[in-house]
Amino acid sequence: MTAEDKPRIGVYICHCGENIAGAVDVEEVRKFAEKLPDVVVARDYLFMCSDPGQEIIKEDIRKGLVNRVVVAACTPRTHEPIFRKACEDAGLNKYYFEMANIRDQCSWAHWHEKEKATEKAKLLVAAAVAKARLLEPLEDRYVELNKDVMVLGGGIAGIFAALDLANAGFKVYLVEKSPSIGGNMAKLDKTFPTNDCSACILTPLMVEVANHPNVELITYAEVESVDGTVGNFKVKVRKKQTYVDWDKCTGCGACLNVCPPKARVPDEYNEGLSTRGAIYIAFPQAVPKKAVIDPDACIRCGGRWFGEEPRKTKDGKPILAPCEKVCPTGACSRDEPRDPNGELIELNVGSIIVATGYRVMDKKHFKEYAPDSPNVITALQMERLISATGPTEGKLIVPSDIPKYLEWKKKIEKGKEAELEARKPHVITFVSCVGSRDERYHTYCSKVCCMYMLKQAMLLKEKYPDLEIYISFIDVRTPGKDFDEYYMRCRKLGIKIIKGKIGGVQRLPDERLLVKGYDAELGRPVELISDIVVLATAMEPNMDLKELARKLGISVGAEGFLKERHTKLYPVDTMTEGIFICGCAQGPKDIPDSVAQAKAAAASAMSLLAPGKMKVEPLISEVDQEKCIGCGICENLCPYGAITLVEVNGSRKSKINETLCKGCGVCAAACPSKAITLHGFTYEQVLAQIRTIAAKKVVEV
């Protein structure tokens, strides 16, 4: 090592305003740091990451005073890149930088123990200096980026993310689990705070994204596995078996009416308020408008399944299933066998946007609210009940009479005369915070319930002024542009607000409901008889979200929604580079917020991919083939198949493919001859830190 290369470490201690200085005696740490081996200067500043703060470091580098930098500040999680860049700008290799975490992991955690926090901060600085003495210069690598993007989820967030990317010229694979895109928004009647018709603003976008030349729509499909890394993800997508030939299906719907009553199951689109056949089209405005057969519901009419010979009538004619018989294009033909596992599609993409949305919590959990009563419904069911595309075409009747309505409709359609004997509601009660803000279920606020209850109440009251509507709130939460004005409009319409919690709902013999609650403003219990009770049940993470997160290598938070890289600074990024999140998969939010996040995720993916190549940190493993004994332990351990054994001068040597290596260091930890170095976390560097902390002084390695 020449004198030039000998470490001359500068230690820079940040006060972070009061955040560090409030619990750590910065001057004491500075004085201590000054005396550490190879440290030539130790300085402190109010905000080290600010422009003048960075300038202090740069100036020392430019003057040639320091050639290694240690910053003791917040956390490398957010600020390591910032300080590395400062080093680089001043002409120092940016990997000659190390950080001591004395805020998140010291001052904040030990706020009331100033002396001990100061001692700990000193030790953390000493450990960082111990590592800094052993740092090596590294060169960034560049990887070529595949510019295609996969967007997961075809709800409003996924549609917007896909459209923005496609309009910017990126190829997008839009993958949706259901047979149609549209998501939960397609089930809504109107949207707050403008009362726009949901279908009117959503369906044109569904059509636009599906017809976009840069978008390949893959519906009724789910992600099976994800491999690779930013710029080069390899995704296997399982396209489920539709049992209908989509190339031939025109979406005419002829099959829907002939599917026998025995094969009918609850209709997902109407949230179970009506039924659908085993063969069905998701909803009338579905995109793509194609039928699928639900194999669990299908009763295999004519005793025939796909690929089986049809039975014959006495006169030798084949007996076909009704859907098969009625289909004008042959899309429903059962002549050919079909693989129940569907088809595996492999996609290569550079970035992935996850927009898989949410689900509404089921009412069945809430025994206190008489979930067995058909007239106790979730707010999303209410949405279907008042929608023109709902089970009653938007005619307001009590849900227990929907079967009567459907029978009546059938008679009318057949040209018979019939009288509709369904009961119209007079009183409707809304119950807030069902499963949200409740320690038994979800402690978070679902954010949209106050507003959608007000919306439904307003729509009902405007259409049926004689209706008596009660909304119970624990609190009314209307933070948003025009939201509180919306609330006031509801109050002026005569919608009655109960400030308090509904304790229970009792089902009465006539299918009405006895609602018992406490009105905090009146200061006494209240009881009312209601025809319909609407539960504002929580927005929940989808059932399979955790599983999907595992496949993608991203994390979920304690409440189960996808976790962003940083709440404030990187709200649509994840800990896995190249994977972005948006919409309700990240947490409950309304449509404008979902759209804003979707556009942010699309923009993030674009700025990542547009240059066509990207810098990657060279913090990966390398084999010293001189030391390697060719045992092959590392080859088996590598989770990415990055290690192969090659022949070098007649002997077996391990070789690491640097584009596949992600730098976990499992190989370095296992190598019996210490032939593998994980750059950035070398054996010597980590050991130096550990020994320093253990011995409470800088120990030579």
């Binding site: 490398p76 999680r77 904040w108 706020w111 994390s555 830190q689």
Partner: protein, 140 residues
């Protein structure tokens, strides 16, 4: 850094994976969950990076307790590094016992990035365990 203090305080080294336990430690701080300042974290990319020597060296150099923190099984950022950590940990425990060190001084925990509270709780509990055991017998 007072090397010999009248009142003995444990010295605990936590070797934390970058993606879960290190994040949890940050989160504990930002949510102001306090835990004993005897705990000091060293960052590694993955619990699978942890060489048994790291733990032994910590003990040989005077640490009273060592905790390895990783992602929950199945949640490893690098697919399965934590399974490798688990295997090495089981083996480490045996070695430590043979060296005459209480196996409770070395611990493996899965703490995810969102479990700030768990991080603080585990650290409090580990600190209490080490206090009960007293100073590292190797320190003589």
């Amino acid at each position: 850094m007072s090397e010999v203090s009248e009142e003995w305080e444990p010295n605990i080294v936590v070797i934390a994976c970058n993606w879960c336990t290190y994040q949890a430690a940050d989160l504990a701080g930002s949510l102001r969950y306090s835990y004993p300042p005897t705990v000091k974290v060293v960052r590694v990319p993955c619990s699978g990076r942890v060489e048994p020597e790291f733990v032994l060296e910590a003990l040989f150099n005077g640490a009273d307790g060592v905790l390895i923190g990783g992602c929950h099984l199945g949640d490893c950022h690098y697919k399965n590094g934590n399974y490798k950590a688990l295997k090495r940990y089981e083996w480490l425990k045996e070695i430590i016992s043979e060296l005459g060190i209480e196996p409770e001084r070395v611990r493996l925990e899965w703490i995810s990035g969102s479990e700030g509270l768990k991080f603080a709780e585990v650290m409090k509990e580990f600190d209490a365990t080490i206090r009960k055991l007293g100073p590292n017998p190797l320190k003589g």
